[in-house]
C-alpha cells in the first residue's frame, strides 16, 4: 500500500471516521466501524495487558474495549464527556476502542494519502496505513487489523 499513487487510484476516495487521541488526528475506514457509543463503565479483566481497558455489555454481547492511547504509549489523560467508544468489527470479532473524541466523517482521495514517513511519533509504523493530507491537517490512517492482531496482543500480554 506504500505505492498507492496517482495514476492507478486517481479519483478514488476513502471514507474515514476521524477521531482524536491526545492532540493527533486519526482515521479508520468507515466500513470497519460498526457504531460509536458514549463512554460507559467497563469491567476490568485482571491480568490482561494494561491497554485492555476491560469488557462492556453491548446490548447483551460482551466485547473487549481497548485503550488506544495506552496501546500507543500516548499520554494518559483522563476521560471526559467527549470520550467515545468506537466499535469496530475486524474479521469476525468486535472490539471497542476508546478515543478522546470523534471529530467527523470525511472523504479523502486515495491520491492524497502518503506512505508512512520513516520517523513518526511514538507509533510503531506497522499500525499505520499512511498519512492523509487534507489542506493543512495530517490524518493518521490506522490499520485496525494490525492493532488488534491477536498474536501480537498475546505477546504483549
Amino acid at each position: 500500500m506504500a505505492e498507492i499513487k496517482e495514476e492507478v487510484n486517481n479519483g478514488e476516495e476513502l471514507q474515514l471516521v476521524i477521531f482524536k487521541l491526545d492532540q493527533e488526528e486519526y482515521g479508520v475506514e468507515i466500513t470497519q466501524v460498526q457504531e460509536i457509543i458514549r463512554m460507559m463503565e467497563t469491567t476490568r479483566v485482571p491480568k490482561a495487558p494494561s491497554y485492555i481497558k476491560g469488557v462492556i455489555n453491548l446490548r447483551g454481547k460482551v466485547i473487549p474495549v481497548i485503550d488506544l492511547k495506552k496501546r500507543f504509549g500516548l499520554c494518559d489523560c483522563a476521560l471526559d464527556e467527549q470520550s467515545r467508544i468506537i466499535v469496530v468489527e475486524v474479521d469476525d470479532f468486535t472490539v471497542g476502542i476508546v478515543v478522546d473524541c470523534v471529530a467527523e466523517v470525511l472523504r479523502i482521495g486515495t491520491n492524497s494519502i502518503e506512505p508512512t514517513p520513516p520517523v513518526f511519533s511514538d507509533l510503531s509504523e506497522e499500525y499505520i496505513k499512511g498519512v492523509g493530507k487534507l489542506e493543512n491537517r495530517l490524518l493518521i490512517l490506522l490499520d485496525i487489523n494490525k492493532i488488534l492482531d491477536i498474536e501480537e496482543l498475546e505477546k504483549a500480554g
Binding site: 463503565e41 469491567t43 485482571p46 447483551g60
Partner: protein
C-alpha cells in the same frame, strides 16, 4: 424450495442413511445370515442411489448402484455373506462417507471409485459360477412356467417377483401418478412419491425407468408397480400428500391365469382439488419389522437458530433479574408478584430451549463400534464392545466436542487396557476383552465411563515413568498416594506405552483429553485395580449456556463462581487463618485447607475503607484439589448466562467467560480449574 433446500435435506438424510448402513453392516458381520439386515442394507443403498442421482452426484450414484448389484445377490442367497464381502462393503461405506463429506464441504467429487467398483464387480463374477450351480439346484420356479401376467410391460423377472409375492399374501398395484402441469421439480416429486411408496412395500418397476424418473425425463405422469400389504386407499392417501401431485390412479393387478385379458379396473381416483384436506389415515404397520418407520414428527432446525433462541432466552433471564432489582429498590410488591409469574415462564422456556438443544449421545457413540472393530483387527485384539445409555442426552455443544476425547480413551482401552489375547490368557482371563462405554445422568451432570477388564494401571510403573520423564520430582513422589499417582497419566508429557504405536502412546493424549473435558466444564478421573481393569470416568454438565453461580464481591468488583465448583461457604475470623510454610491455611472440621486471597490473585485494588473482622471463604474444589477463596462479600446465588469473552481474551483461562448482571454490568466468571 429451491435446489439448495434439497441439498441440506439430501446431506442430512445421507448422513443418517450412512450411519444406518454402518450399524447394519456391523450387525451383518456378526449375523451373516440375517436376511432382514440385508434387506435394510439394500434399501439404504437404494435410497442413497436415488437421492444422489436426483441431486446429480453421479459418483455416489454409480458406487451405490454397484453395491446394489452385489447386495441383491446377497439377499437372494445367490452369494454367501463372507467376511471379504463385508470388508468391501465397509470400504464402500467409507468411500461414500468421504464423498458425502466432500459434498458437504463443497469439494468437487474427485475420489476415484473405479478400484472399488472393480472389486464389487469381481465379487459378482467370481460368484456367478458358484451362484449358477446353487440356483440350478434350488430354483423353485423357472421363468418359463410363470403364470402370464396382466401386463406386457413387465419382464420375466418382475413377473416372478410378483408371483412369489402373491403367494405370500401381498397385493400388486400399478399406481399411475400425474403431476401438476406447472410442476418444476418433477424429479424431486417423483422421488418423494417413490419414497412414500417404498415405505409401504417394494417397488418392483417404474415406467419410465427409475433413472429417467430421477432425472425428470417424463411428461407429467409415471407408473409405479408396488408389491405391498398396504391398503389401496391408504396408498392413495400417502401419494396424494406429496405436493404438486395432481391425480393418483391405482389398479390392482391380478395374477389369475383365467383373468389374463381383463384387468380389473378397480381404480380409485382422487382429485386433489376436491379433497381439500387429506383424511388422516390410521397408520397401519404393515412392514415386516425390517423397514424402519421414521414417522415420529420432527422438524430439522438450523443449529444457528437454536443458538439464537438460546441467546434470546438468556437476554430474557438477564432482564428479568434487572426488573426484580428495580422492584426491590422501589418496593413495588405488585411487580414482584408479576415477576414471579414471569420467572416461572422464563424458567420453563429456558428448560424447553435447553431440552431442544439436547441431543442423545448416540450420535457420538454410533461411530465407535466400527472404530473398535477396525482397531481390534489392526492390533490383533479380540474386543467385545458394550455400549449402554446411548439415549442419554447432552447439550449439542458438548456433543460436538466430546467425540475426540472419547476416541482417545477408547483407543487407550483397546491398546493398553485390554491387552492382547495371549497376554490375557496368561493372566487367566478370556481371550476376548470387554470394553464398556456407558453414559448415564447423575443429578445435574452426565457421566460417561470407559471401562476395560484389562490389566489395570499399576501405580508403581506410573511412578517410575513419571520420575524418568521428569513429570514429578523424587520429593513429590514420596508424598503421593496411589490415587494421586494414577492421576499422573493426565499430566502433559506422559506416556507409558512400551512402544509408540499409531494408535496411542504419543504422550500427548491424556493431557489433551483432560484439558478438553475441563474446558467443557467437566472433569475426568480414573479408578483402577491392578489385574482387574480400569475405568475412566468423565463428568460433564448438562448444559453450558446457563449456570447457577455465586456472585462474590471484591471491593467494587463482582465476580461469579460456578456453583458446580463450590462446596460450601463459611465465615471466619481473621485469626483463624494460620500459616504453614508461609502458606495461609485454615482448619475446616479438622482438615487443613489452603486459602487464597482472591483479591491478590485478581489484583483487585484493596478497599482500604473497611477493615472487617469476619472473612468470607468460599470453599471450592476441582478434581481432587480443594481450596478456600477469601472474598470481601457474598452477594448471592443467581442464574447466569455465560457469554464468551471473545477471541481477544480467550487466552485468559482463569475466566470461563462473562455474564451480564441485573444492572447491565458485566461480571467475569471464574474458572476454578485454572485459578488454583
Amino acid at each position: 424450495m429451491d435446489m439448495s433446500d434439497y441439498m441440506s435435506m439430501f446431506l442430512d438424510e445421507s448422513r443418517e442413511n450412512l450411519q444406518n448402513l454402518n450399524q447394519c453392516l456391523l450387525d451383518l458381520e456378526k449375523n451373516p445370515n440375517n436376511l432382514a439386515l440385508l434387506d435394510e442394507i439394500f434399501r439404504v443403498a437404494h435410497t442413497l442411489k436415488g437421492m444422489s442421482a436426483t441431486m446429480g452426484f453421479t459418483t455416489v450414484a454409480e458406487l451405490t448402484h454397484e453395491m446394489e448389484n452385489v447386495l441383491d445377490k446377497l439377499r437372494k442367497g445367490e452369494m454367501p455373506v463372507v467376511p471379504d464381502v463385508v470388508d468391501i462393503l465397509f470400504q464402500c461405506l467409507d468411500t461414500l462417507e468421504t464423498l458425502i463429506t466432500n459434498i458437504t464441504n463443497g469439494v468437487e467429487d474427485s475420489i476415484d471409485t473405479s478400484a472399488l467398483i472393480k472389486k464389487l464387480r469381481s465379487m459378482l463374477s467370481m460368484d456367478a459360477t458358484r451362484a449358477e450351480v446353487a440356483s440350478s439346484l434350488a430354483e423353485p420356479l423357472t421363468t418359463e412356467e410363470e403364470p402370464f401376467l396382466l401386463t406386457d410391460e413387465l419382464n420375466e423377472f418382475e413377473k416372478e417377483v410378483i408371483t412369489q409375492a402373491r403367494g405370500k399374501g401381498f397385493q400388486i398395484y400399478r399406481i399411475v401418478v400425474s403431476l401438476e402441469e406447472e410442476c418444476l421439480l418433477k424429479a424431486a416429486r417423483a422421488f418423494m412419491v417413490f419414497r412414500e411408496l417404498e415405505e409401504q412395500g417394494e417397488v418392483i418397476k417404474t415406467i419410465p425407468e427409475v433413472k429417467e424418473l430421477e432425472e425428470g425425463e417424463f411428461q407429467k405422469d409415471f407408473q409405479i408397480y408396488l408389491v405391498t400389504k398396504a391398503d389401496q386407499q391408504e396408498l392413495v392417501q400417502r401419494v396424494i400428500t406429496v405436493s404438486e401431485v395432481e391425480t393418483v390412479d391405482i389398479v390392482e393387478l391380478l395374477l389369475d391365469k383365467s383373468a389374463t385379458q381383463s384387468v380389473t379396473e378397480n381404480a380409485v381416483e382422487i382429485d386433489k382439488t376436491k379433497q381439500t384436506k387429506p383424511q388422516p389415515v390410521a397408520q397401519v404397520n404393515n412392514n415386516n419389522g425390517n423397514h424402519k418407520n421414521k414417522l415420529s414428527q420432527t422438524v430439522r432446525v438450523d443449529i444457528e437458530r437454536l443458538d439464537n433462541l438460546m441467546n434470546l432466552v438468556g437476554e430474557l433471564v438477564i432482564n428479568r433479574t434487572r426488573l426484580e432489582q428495580i422492584g426491590l429498590k422501589h418496593g413495588l410488591n405488585d411487580l414482584g408478584e408479576t415477576l414471579e409469574q414471569v420467572g416461572r415462564i422464563t424458567t420453563d422456556l429456558q428448560n424447553l430451549v435447553m431440552k431442544v438443544r439436547m441431543v442423545p449421545i448416540e450420535q457420538v457413540f454410533n461411530r465407535f463400534p466400527r472404530m473398535i472393530r477396525d482397531l481390534a483387527k489392526e492390533l490383533g485384539r479380540e474386543i467385545n464392545l458394550v455400549i449402554e445409555g446411548e439415549e442419554t442426552e447432552l447439550d449439542r455443544t458438548v456433543i460436538d466436542e466430546i467425540g475426540d476425547p472419547l476416541v482417545h480413551l477408547l483407543r487407550n482401552a483397546v491398546d493398553h487396557g485390554v491387552g492382547s489375547p495371549e497376554e490375557r490368557e496368561k493372566m487367566g482371563k478370556s481371550r476376548v476383552g470387554t470394553v464398556k462405554l456407558l453414559a448415564y445422568p447423575e443429578g445435574n451432570q452426565v457421566v460417561i465411563r470407559v471401562d476395560d477388564d484389562g490389566k489395570g494401571i499399576n501405580p508403581e510403573i506410573i511412578l517410575k515413568k513419571a520420575l524418568e520423564k521428569g513429570v514429578i520430582t523424587e520429593k513429590e513422589a514420596e508424598k503421593m498416594e496411589a490415587q494421586d499417582i494414577v492421576m499422573l497419566v493426565f499430566k502433559p508429557g506422559f506416556s507409558t506405552a512400551e512402544k509408540v504405536t499409531d494408535v496411542s502412546g504419543r504422550g500427548v493424549g491424556m493431557d489433551v483429553v483432560r484439558t478438553k473435558i475441563e474446558s467443557l466444564g467437566g472433569n475426568i478421573s480414573v479408578q483402577t485395580k491392578v489385574g482387574e481393569g480400569s475405568s475412566f470416568i468423565i463428568r460433564l454438565p448438562l448444559t453450558l449456556a446457563i449456570i447457577q453461580a455465586l456472585l462474590v464481591g471484591m471491593s467494587k468488583e463482582i465476580y461469579a463462581i460456578p456453583l458446580s465448583s463450590i462446596e460450601e461457604t463459611i465465615s471466619l475470623a481473621q485469626e483463624d487463618i494460620k500459616t504453614i510454610q508461609d502458606k495461609e491455611v485454615i482448619l475446616l472440621r479438622g482438615n487443613v485447607l489452603p486459602v487464597l486471597r482472591l483479591s491478590e490473585i485478581l489484583q483487585v485494588e484493596a478497599d482500604s475503607a473497611e477493615e472487617e473482622q469476619d472473612l468470607y471463604v468460599v470453599v471450592v474444589k476441582t478434581g481432587q484439589r480443594r481450596a478456600g477463596l477469601i472474598v470481601d462479600k457474598l452477594i448471592g446465588q443467581q442464574e447466569v448466562v455465560i457469554k464468551s469473552l471473545g477471541k481477544l481474551l480467550n487466552g485468559y483461562r482463569q475466566f470461563a467467560g462473562a455474564t451480564i448482571l441485573g444492572d447491565g454490568r458485566v461480571a467475569l466468571i471464574l474458572d476454578i480449574t485454572f485459578l488454583l
